[in-house]
């Protein structure tokens, strides 16, 4: 998949801008505050249908405007979308259309414009609490496997219901527990068991694949890195999971929430034999974050038959300058990389096209043309 052109209207700080990327690997060069990250965010928006920074539409609309529009012109394998438009406003739902036809369910967009994204905030995600690492797997799996979206949605719906059931009985009976309708609780547990093991199975398979790839990529950057990734929840049968949920019921009743399942799973990122969140330097954490995205790009390429667009926001800061050139060389062949930076990269492959970015608050159209280093 390649981005030929990206147009932003009233998106973040951009009033009306257009970038002719022409499918080339591109370095977006701009000072802090120029809004170069917003281009990465816009490119990801047409892929995953939402902001990878978790921003709501009211944050994405330029101050003083009512609505934004992001239009992407694309080129990919036969049958791949040629144009995706995302419109959002201060009120009302976000509208997505693919080749001019409106898309009503997010599942109909996911996986059709594959991307991987790295941004500064992601370092904290891999480094911080496990919820962020689970979300990374979920976003990837939603692109890879349409059935995953359904399983995840059903699981989350049933989880909310069982938790409410437990919380209500806790309120009625105090933390002595008990009082929950065992049969009703078991009905919700059966759904949690069926969808939960499905989620675990798919996450574990993806982690295995990523583990193999990130170890290989790490070796190419520095043989001492010894990178790894492992999924912490056991893959078991739905019957076994239902038994464990039933066994946890008294304790869950005292706590008022569900203590086991994929919503609590550990995802372990390892570097040099230690957990990433166990004192790894920021430079190492950042390197890991970028490599896990490149590993994911390899998975998407293989399983979707379409090399994803690789979006890297400011990868060079806080990174050993020797690494950046090697990292960019690891982008899968056929993938278009779009990279932002404050200044020209220390070592950048010469195929990169350089595009200066300015805020389009005043100028109508910037970021067209540019030079090749």
């Amino acid at each position: 998949m390649r981005l030929l052109r990206l147009e932003l209207q009233n998106f973040r700080n951009h009033r009306d801008c257009c970038a002719d990327l022409e499918g080339r690997p591109t370095l977006l060069l701009g000072a802090n505050g120029s809004g170069k990250t917003n281009w990465i965010e816009a490119a990801a928006l047409v892929s995953i249908g939402r902001s990878f920074r978790g921003a709501k539409d009211r944050d994405l609309v330029r101050r003083g405007a009512d609505a934004y529009e992001v239009r992407a012109t694309l080129s990919g394998r036969a049958g791949a979308p040629r144009a995706v438009t995302v419109r959002g406003s201060l009120r009302g739902p976000r509208e997505v259309s693919v080749d001019g036809a409106p898309v009503s369910r997010l599942a109909d967009l996911l996986g059709r414009v594959p991307t991987v994204q790295f941004s500064v905030e992601d370092v904290a995600v891999l480094n911080g609490d496990p919820a962020g690492r689970r979300r990374f797997l979920d976003v990837a799996l939603c692109q890879l496997e349409p059935a995953y979206v359904g399983a995840l949605r059903e699981y989350m719906a049933a989880l909310k219901q069982r938790n409410r059931l437990l919380a209500e009985s806790l309120k009625r009976n105090g933390n002595g527990g008990g009082g929950v309708d065992e049969t009703e609780c078991a009905a919700w547990e059966e759904i949690l068991a069926r969808t939960g093991v499905e989620i675990d199975r798919r996450r574990a398979m993806l982690c295995d694949d990523l583990d193999r790839r990130i170890a290989g990529l790490g070796d190419q950057v520095d043989p001492d890195l010894a990178l790894g990734l492992a999924y912490g929840e056991a893959v078991e049968s739905p019957e076994r999971r239902a038994e464990r949920l039933e066994a946890a019921r008294p304790r869950d009743g005292r706590w008022g929430w569900t203590s086991i399942g994929p919503h609590r799973a550990r995802v372990d990122c390892r570097i040099q034999g230690r957990a990433l969140n166990d004192g790894a330097s920021r430079g190492y954490a950042r390197l890991y974050s970028i490599l896990v995205r490149l590993a994911l790009a390899g998975v998407l390429d293989e399983r979707l038959g379409e090399p994803p667009v690789v979006l890297l926001d400011d990868p060079e800061s806080e990174l050993d300058p020797r690494w950046i050139g090697r990292l960019l060389a690891l982008v899968p062949e056929g993938s278009q990389a779009i990279v932002t930076a404050c200044r020209p990269l220390t070592t950048s492959p010469d195929r990169f096209h350089v595009m200066p970015i300015e805020s389009c608050e005043v100028a109508e159209v910037v970021a067209a043309g540019g030079t090749t280093t």
Binding site: E154, A157, A158, Q161, R162, D181, T183, E184, A186, W188
Partner: protein
């Protein structure tokens, strides 16, 4: 925008409360009604009043009816040994349209959803158990919606029925897309779902 007639405003406010109707559509309907002849508007008003005065729930199955019991429960040609359990009276209509089912119905009037304060006591589960315990039922087809709530309700009923091992409990096949309502699934899909039901 406010109109100069408070009566018109009141009508728009009432229409806006109807499901799926926003303020713009409500205004269009209200202005349409303003222009139609009085007898036509009267027929609509009467239809609503008659409905409220004469339509009630069937005392046996919970379906909407003007007679007690309803025509489906009174029809001696229908097989009383097979009960089809649905969430809403509208689902009875959807299944009747397929012409694949010749048993009787049980309308739950909802599905389990603790988040919305709906437990087994808030839907017609007890009435279902009473029908089973009074004898003669050999199969229950659970045709609740393929949503998490509909699933949980089906599984809940299957568990209760373990006390009645002579009653076969089946769930309509997953021909109906997950997350959709029976009401909106097309007739062929629904017909296939009923004939291809599975034990739960």
């Amino acid at each position: 925008m406010q109109f100069s007639s408070t009566l018109l405003e009141a009508l728009i406010a009432e229409i806006t409360r109807l499901p799926g109707i926003g303020r713009k559509s409500a205004q269009r309907i209200a202005f349409y009604l303003l222009r139609v002849p009085a007898d036509e508007a009267g027929r609509l008003a009467n239809a609503i009043l008659e409905l409220k005065a004469r339509v009630e729930d069937c005392s046996i199955c919970g379906n909407v009816t003007e007679t007690q019991p309803c025509a489906l429960c009174a029809d001696s040609r229908r097989d009383g040994a097979v009960l089809c359990v649905v969430e809403h009276a509208m689902d009875v209509l959807a299944i009747e349209r397929t012409a694949e089912f010749r048993g009787r119905y049980h309308v739950l009037k909802g599905a389990l959803s603790p988040v919305d304060g709906v437990g087994p006591d808030q839907i017609r589960i007890r009435e279902l158990m009473a029908r089973v315990e009074s004898g003669g039922v050999t199969e229950i087809i659970v045709a609740t919606n393929p949503t998490a709530q509909g699933e949980a309700t089906a599984l809940y009923i299957a568990r209760l029925m373990q006390a009645h091992p002579s009653v076969r409990v089946t769930r309509i096949a997953r021909g109906v897309p997950m997350g959709s309502d029976l009401e909106f699934s097309d007739q062929i899909t629904l017909a296939r779902a009923i004939t291809g039901r599975k034990e739960i």
